[in-house]
Structures are given as C-alpha cells and as structure tokens.
C-alpha cells in the first residue's frame, strides 16, 4: 500500500519515473492519472494476450493539472469533469497498471475516475493530438467491419495485424484489435457452447418422442408445438454495450432465458404459461406456445422424419384433460396457439359452411 501524500509530492516531481519505486511489476507505469482512463474492457485482455499495454502515455496536460492543482481536489474535479473528460476518457490503461495506480491516488482521484469511467463509453473520435493512447469506441459499424475482417481470415487464424489491414482504419492500433479479438473469440465460444447445449437439448426432446410412447412423461415429453429453441440468436454486435443490453431484454419475450442462465430442465416459456399449466395440473403437459413462430413447427415435425414428437399416448387421452384444455381456450382465447398452424382462410370457411347450411357464425340456433 502506498501512502498518498508522499506520492503526490513525488508525482509532481517525477512523473515520468514514478513507477520505478512503487510498482516494480510495471515498468511503464507512469502515473496516477491512470485512474482517469480506466478501461475496464482491457482489464483481462491486455495482459493475458501477451499484449500488455506498452504504451501507456500520459497526457501532458493532465499531468500538468495534477502538479498544479495538487492540493486542490475540488477544483481538479471540476476541471476534469468539464474540460478533461474527453481526453481522460480516451486514455486506456490495462488492469494491472490500473490496480496500483488506484491505490496511490485513490483519495483524490476517485471522484474523477468515476466520472471518467462514466465517460468511457463516449466517442473516441475526438482524440487529442498525438501523445495519448486512443481508446477505441467499438461502435456497431466498427465491430461489423471487424467481424467481417475476422471471418475473412478465419476466426481462429485471424491475426490482429491482418485484421487491421483488412479493416483499413487509421485510428486503430494493433493492440486495440488484439484485445477486441480476444473478447470476440471468448464471446463466440460462449455463444456457441450455449447453442450446442440448446441444440442437444432439442434433440433430447425429440428422442423422448419415440420411447415415450408408453410413458407418461408430462414434463419432458416433446410437444408438437415446441419451437426450435435458441438458434435464433444472431452472433452479432456484441461489442457494443448497449446492444448487449437490448439483446438480453428481448430474449425473455422470445423464447429463451437471459443469456447467462440456461434453464434446460423445463421448457422455457413466456410468462403467460406457468399459469396456463397450473390451471390443469397433472396430465396436461406443457404445450409450448409458439410465440410468433408458426412455420418452423410443422417443419419440425416433418424434418424429424419418422418420429413426430407427440404427447404421451399410451392410454387414450383422458376426456377430462381434453375438456380442461378446451375449457381453458374458451376462457382465455388470447393464449397462443399450441401448434401455430397457418390459419384457414376465413372466407373459404364461410363459403364452405354456407354450403352446409350454416350462414351465421357463430351459429345462434344452438
């Protein structure tokens, strides 16, 4: 732990060589304004990649600030907040560097740091000339180009320098690319693993269809209406924090649970359903509503080939359960269709009914 006060003095005097005594591990560690530009993104990346940030450069203006206003916290904060935000936000520092620096300047810098972090997400296009290391703002567009380049090279084989070439963007350094690439790869792995898991779960359900002929397996028995689960997730624009958020939010509405959790014991259903189940109890197995996915399901049945996933049918379906199901639909017509077949043409139906002598629908003479 480093004492704050001596440091301050030291910093003023020996900003450049600051690191030497205090931080043996970080030869290039220059100062406390580390905090100013905490780039949490780089936290794990820079180091393990072997691309430890070498070029931690200091904004001389900020340094000047420190020296000048060494004793004036509030002022510094203000100044930083108002004028220096952009600059500070663009300095990106690795976790290691950050760690030590933080301690040293904690008292004074924290408030600033917090602000700076908050500003982290802002554009990086306004880079002050020259000395600073640019913090890259991975916009969706930028990320898209990145992904393009990576895929062209092959995800596993993609090398930052080549990616950089392919992207052809000046403001990017190889290091930026390298760290982003690492994140991208790990994210992909995560997504692929999840998809594989979901796919295997899907298969498991189909498998249950055959042997389950004689078993009453209400919870796991594949229902006709079960939509193919996850593969709807696009592998895209993950880098941008706000996009991630929105992705997470749309998911529950769709089919799957939020990305990190993957409840595969029960078929994931939109919220409406649990009450749907409870009203019936035992025999009525979960009929998964096809939330706006009518087409895949019949396809699912057909693709499955011989085995169409079907409900337990060893015993003749009990009349009570059918009655219950029907009653439920009558009471709650807004519930989604269990299979989601393409609806019939109303006109055609009406014409047909007329042929059979029914002109009023619903028929009043019941």
């Amino acid at each position: 732990m480093l004492a704050v006060s001596p440091l301050r003095n030291e910093r003023e005097n020996q900003i450049q060589s600051f690191s030497m005594e205090e931080n043996n591990e970080f030869p290039e560690f220059t100062t406390g304004n580390l905090l100013d530009a905490i780039d949490f993104d780089d936290f794990c990346v820079g180091i393990s990649n072997g691309d430890v940030l070498p070029d931690l450069e200091m904004e001389s203006e900020i340094m000047a600030e420190f020296s000048v206003t060494a004793g004036e916290e509030p002022e510094m904060n203000r100044e930083n907040d108002s004028g220096k935000n952009e600059k500070a936000a663009t300095v990106s520092i690795s976790a290691l560097d950050l760690g030590s620096g933080e301690e040293t300047v904690s008292k004074r810098e924290k408030p600033i740091a917090v602000n700076k972090i908050a500003d982290k997400g802002r554009k990086s296009s306004k880079n002050p000339p020259g000395k600073k290391k640019v913090k890259v703002d991975w916009t969706p567009e930028l990320h898209r180009r990145f992904v393009e380049a990576v895929e062209k090279l092959g995800v596993e084989k993609a090398v930052p320098s080549r990616i950089l070439e392919l992207m052809g963007i000046d403001c990017l350094t190889r290091h930026n690319i390298a760290s982003h690439l690492q994140k991208y790869r790990s994210h992909r792995k995560h997504l692929l693993a999840r998809e594989a898991e979901a796919a295997s779960w899907n298969q498991r359900r189909q498998v249950y269809g055959t042997p389950a002929k004689r078993e009453v397996n209400p919870w796991i028995a594949p229902t006709v209406g079960f939509p193919p689960m996850p593969p709807f997730r696009p592998l895209h624009v993950w880098g941008h924090p706000s996009v991630d958020q929105s992705l997470t939010r749309t998911w529950p509405a769709y089919v799957a649970p939020p990305p990190p959790a993957w409840p595969h014991h029960l078929p994931p259903l939109p919220p409406a359903d649990p009450s749907f189940w409870h009203s019936h109890g035992s025999y009525r197995f979960p009929t998964a509503p096809v939330c706006g996915i009518p087409t895949p399901v019949p396809g699912l049945c057909v693709v499955a080939g011989q085995t169409m996933p079907r409900p337990p049918s060893d015993v003749h379906p009990s009349k009570e359960s059918i009655d219950a199901a029907i009653g439920d639909v009558l009471r709650k017509p807004w519930l989604p269709l269990p299979i989601g077949l393409k609806p019939p043409s109303v006109d055609t139906v009406m014409v047909e009914l007329k042929h059979h002598g029914i002109s009023k629908v619903p028929p009043t003479c019941d």
Partner: protein, 101 residues
C-alpha cells in the same frame, strides 16, 4: 361465447382444434370433443379442420401418419394392463418372479 365476428369464431375453433391435436385426436374425435365441451357444431369443426389441412398439408400428413402408428397400438395395447406380458418380454426375469400374481 364471446366471439363476435366470424373470423374470431373461426380462430377460436382453430385454436381448439390445435389443442385437440396436441392430444392426438382424430378429426372425428375432435368434432365430438368440441361439440361436447365447447358447443361447436361438428360441421364447423370439420370445415375448419379441412381448411387447416389445406393450409398445412405437410403437417397434417405427418400428423395422420403418426396417429396411424398410435392407432395400431391402441388396438393391441401393450400397457400396464398386461404387465406379465411386458415383463416376460423383458430381460429382467427377476422382477417377473416378484410381480407375477
């Protein structure tokens, strides 16, 4: 019933038919069930069913096919009603000994 327009009504019948299909009912069984539990004229059920079939040919084909398989089972049900038969067929002879009456 609460369904005002023909379209709504037909949608309702459609929904009910789907529910029945979840239980693997045949068209006739469905007509009976809907008539009994939802007061829907069998002719309406039948008409909607037919139209659904037109729109979802592949699905109905697969449905009928799988129903056919189940149907044959129903005729000669190998269910718990005849445990001996099952157990005898199964490799675990020990359990047979215990369960035989």
């Amino acid at each position: 019933m609460g369904s005002d327009s023909p379209a709504q009504y037909i949608h309702l019948v459609h929904h009910l038919i789907e529910e029945c299909m979840v239980f693997n009912l045949s068209k006739e069984e469905c007509m009976e069930a809907l008539s009994k539990h939802a007061n829907i004229l069998p002719i309406i059920t039948s008409t909607v069913w037919k139209e659904l079939e037109k729109e979802n040919k592949e699905f109905f084909d697969a449905y009928e096919k799988s129903r056919g398989e189940i149907g044959s089972e129903r005729e000669c049900p190998i269910t718990q009603m005849r445990p001996k038969k099952i157990l005898l067929d199964s490799p675990g002879k020990d359990t047979v000994a215990m369960n035989e009456d």
